[in-house]
Symmetry: C2
Subunit: 180 residues, 2 copies
DNA sequence: GAATTTAGTTAGATAATCTAATTGAATTAC
DNA sequence: GTAATTCAATTAGATTATCTAACTAAATTC
């Protein structure tokens, strides 16, 4: 039966062991084995975290980066001049990329562009009422999904993890020169 | 001066506080506040981890997903029949997407395709010597970059974090039905 | 007032994914 | 033992998120 031969040729899950084996053969002298191992796990976990969040958001027809931008606009709503340049700067992407994101969000009426009166080269970007409605719709499940990432940790572990998480995120933000 | 007005319109980094504020207003009843907060931090950290790794790998002209595929092939090198279908299954993507990845890797001579003699619909995919060379080149820095993610943690924190990391990755893999 | 700088967009590219259709080979069902 | 079906891989065509380079219009500098 073809179905079974398909199962037959399935690639077995090897687990982390062969990766560690490979690591021992390919690691530079100065690298700490345990740290590299944990870093690899962090990378895998990170991939998986993004997948979980993507999956959650896809039900709302939006992606993480776009939600991110909408939240940015919401949290800077009172600022009178939020420009594509400032957004690009903040998100660490090019202005041209911001133009594309804004085109997409504008088409769905979740943001609006208005030309600045002071300097007519500049554009003020703001979230619309519909955009706020979307966010109000998305966030309850979004927070629940975020929380669910920690479901398997007990109270003690959560407490320990919190400190570590803040530290790790702080140092990586410094390293990349980013931050929200 | 224009330069200064650009600085002027820069969006300030707000930190996590306004996100938590927003969370309080938009969270569903049953969601645990602290967990949601930590989940959000995990998401941010995950984004940053992928950025760090991407940056590291870009020096070698390869991306995480392609390295991932090459490692998969390396670790299954002795298997006589590694097909695009099996790869797709394992990576959780479509066969068509695997075709595209393989085209790219084959063009650079890092993998080779050979038709199966037994079933001529099937293709055996293997990593080439050049592919192994690439990996040997990439891995030393790759491991160092992985390890560097934990640079700021002290010995005690690392020990605690390891247990948590294994647990978190285990549960998220189960949830997504993936794994290596 | 001419040259330069700046903001935003457009054009065109690449990567990583998808779905739907196609091709060729193997299997199944009369 | 052929006809219909299934299966593996690819192709065609689309989307999202990014990039660089070129362009346009406005503001600033000299």
């Amino acid at each position: 039966m073809a179905k079974e031969s398909t199962v037959d040729q399935q690639l077995p899950k090897l687990g982390i062991a062969p990766y560690l084996q490979l690591m021992n053969n390919t690691m530079a002298k100065g690298t700490d084995r345990k740290s590299a191992q944990m870093g690899l796990l962090m990378l895998w976990l990170s991939d998986n975290v993004l997948d979980v969040i993507d999956e959650d958001l896809s039900a709302f027809g939006i992606t993480e980066s776009k939600l991110d931008l909408l939240l940015l606009l919401l949290l800077h709503e009172e600022r009178e001049l939020v420009t594509p340049s400032a957004i690009a700067d903040r998100l660490g992407i090019r202005r041209a990329s911001v133009t594309a994101l804004l085109d997409w969000l504008e088409k769905r009426k979740w943001i609006a562009r208005e030309q600045s009166a002071k300097d007519r080269r500049m554009i003020h970007v703001r979230i619309t009422e519909e955009g706020v409605d979307l966010i109000d719709n998305v966030l309850p499940t979004f927070w629940a999904t975020c929380a669910s990432l920690l479901d398997d940790l007990d109270a003690e572990e959560r407490k320990l993890f919190e400190k570590i998480l803040v530290k790790l995120n702080g140092s990586i933000e410094k390293r990349l020169g980013v931050g929200r």
